[in-house]
């Protein structure tokens, strides 16, 4: 999967011929300061906004999880999955996998923030899409819930290993979840680094040198 894209908002250029290639089944973390165009990149990959350039081998159907769960509040967790096309069995199976079997018929507005984000993750994984786009889906959670959700995310990802582009500003998160890290700066790639091939999620205590390298790339 390759992209070669340019994007401007009025007179402001976000990317000028940003070229990236993603291998099948890898988890790529995109880091960068606010306003660098991380979310814009996801919108382009999902073909949600107009842009210049080409997307090569980018699948049409994508799974997408946002910073906020974006669930229909009057529908239950299960109904939210059915809303995007899942059948009842598939919805039940997914919710059981993330530990929501007893909560699946509860209106989503009555679920906790972490539970809502689990449902949103299930929705992103439903349909076994080859491309998963995650726009800071863990950022609003506390550390404990975040760790639980990392486990749930990796468990779901292991099943079909979709190519995953995870946008975050959290260096720790990129260390724990990503196989590759890309740092964007001024519309260009400031760092493109493959992380050690170890089991995910990685231990939070490790990788001090890698984290320092990412931080330097973001700062410099």
């Amino acid at each position: 999967m390759r992209i070669d894209v340019s994007k401007t908002y009025g007179k402001q250029t976000v990317f000028s011929r940003l070229q990236l290639a993603f291998s099948d089944g890898e988890i790529v973390c995109i880091l960068g300061a606010s306003g660098v165009g991380k979310t814009t990149l996801l919108h382009i990959l999902a073909r949600q906004i107009p842009f210049e350039g080409t997307l090569t081998d980018v699948p049409d159907g994508v799974g997408y999880a946002y910073q906020e769960p974006r669930l229909l509040p009057h529908l239950s967790a299960k109904e939210n999955l059915i809303y995007v096309g899942a059948d009842e069995n598939a919805a039940n199976e997914l919710l059981i996998k993330v530990g929501l079997e007893t909560q699946k018929d509860k209106p989503s507005s009555q679920l906790s923030g972490g539970e809502q984000q689990r449902v949103a993750l299930c929705r992103a994984f439903w349909g076994k899409n080859k491309l998963l786009l995650l726009d800071e889906p863990f950022s609003s959670l506390d550390v404990i819930r975040k760790q639980d959700l990392y486990q749930a995310f990796i468990a779901l990802w292991q099943e079909n290993k979709p190519t995953t582009v995870l946008v975050t500003h959290d260096i720790e998160e990129s260390w724990e979840l990503a196989q590759r890290v890309i740092v964007l700066k001024n519309g260009k790639v400031a760092l493109d680094m493959r992380l050690p091939d170890t089991a995910l999620p990685r231990k939070i205590d490790d990788g001090a040198d890698v984290k320092a390298q990412i931080l330097r790339a973001m700062r410099d």
């Binding site: 999902a46 949600q48 997408y64 229909l72 009057h74 809303y83 995007v84 096309g85 507005s109």
Partner: protein
């Protein structure tokens, strides 16, 4: 904020009615002329007679039918134009001054023109349409604009069919505000039709009946008729409010 209970609401309404009746009693004592201001008891007696007469019910349902026709036509057109305006911002901008102009029409003065073109029976319905259309258009447009854009974006990413989006996202989101607006519009339509009937002297109408009562100095009956119109309007508005709140609770899942 402390939640108001059903019992609290009943007490508040009863207190407001008691204040109104006290003001009426004081005004009656001050005026001291039954032809200018009849007593509440006299009005209630007249209301009893009115409710037992078939002439009243013919006029009541005649007026209600006009309101209903005007309301239905306004609702259909307002919904169509509001949906077009929601989808096409250019149309929204183009249509805004037209709606503004319709809203600004002095409808009772316009009634005199409409009377030249249509019959006395039809004119009140047209007047009510001119009053209700801008009201419902604005209300439905506002309800559509309030649908969560983030949920719309999510639905687009997941390629949710439009029909499903309408039934599962748009309708439940817009319904509470639309129901509230419909109740208020129906009550407003009733006022508009009755006022237009007075001027147009439409057959089988509460307005015409009120005009006759004024001509023949049946003042207690006239007061009773006005009270009946008020109560009907309040009931319509309350019904819209109840359905709207129910829809809102369903959307929020608030117990």
């Amino acid at each position: 904020m402390k939640k108001r209970t059903w019992r609290n609401n009943v007490i508040t309404v009863a207190a407001a009615i008691a204040v109104l009746l006290t003001v009426w009693a004081i005004a009656y004592a001050v005026v001291g002329n039954d032809l200018l201001l009849p007593s509440f008891a006299e009005c209630m007696r007249a209301a009893g007679e009115l409710l037992l007469s078939s002439v009243f019910w013919t006029a009541f349902f005649g007026t209600l039918l006009r309101v209903l026709i005007a309301f239905c036509i306004s609702f259909v057109f307002a919904t169509i134009f509001a949906v077009i305006a929601y989808m096409l911002p250019t149309f929204r901008a183009f249509f805004a001054p037209i709606v503004g102009a319709i809203r600004a029409l002095p409808v009772l003065a316009v009634l005199l023109i409409i009377l030249v073109w249509t019959s006395a029976g039809t004119a009140p319905t047209v007047v009510a349409f001119l009053s209700l259309f801008p009201m419902l258009y604005t209300g439905i447009s506002a309800a559509l604009m309030r649908v969560d854009t983030k949920l719309i974006e999510m639905s687009r990413v997941y390629k949710v069919p439009l029909r499903k989006q309408i039934t599962t996202l748009y309708l439940p989101s817009a319904l509470p505000a639309v129901c509230l607006e419909c109740g208020a519009a129906f009550a407003f339509g009733l006022k508009a039709v009755v006022s237009a009937e007075v001027l147009a002297r439409a057959a089988n109408g509460l307005g015409t009946m009120a005009n006759d009562m004024q001509i023949y100095s049946q003042i207690p009956a006239l007061f009773a008729l006005v009270i009946v119109v008020c109560i009907t309007g309040i009931l319509a508005e309350s019904l819209g409010s109840i359905v709207g709140r129910w829809a809102e609770r369903r959307m929020d899942n608030a117990d």
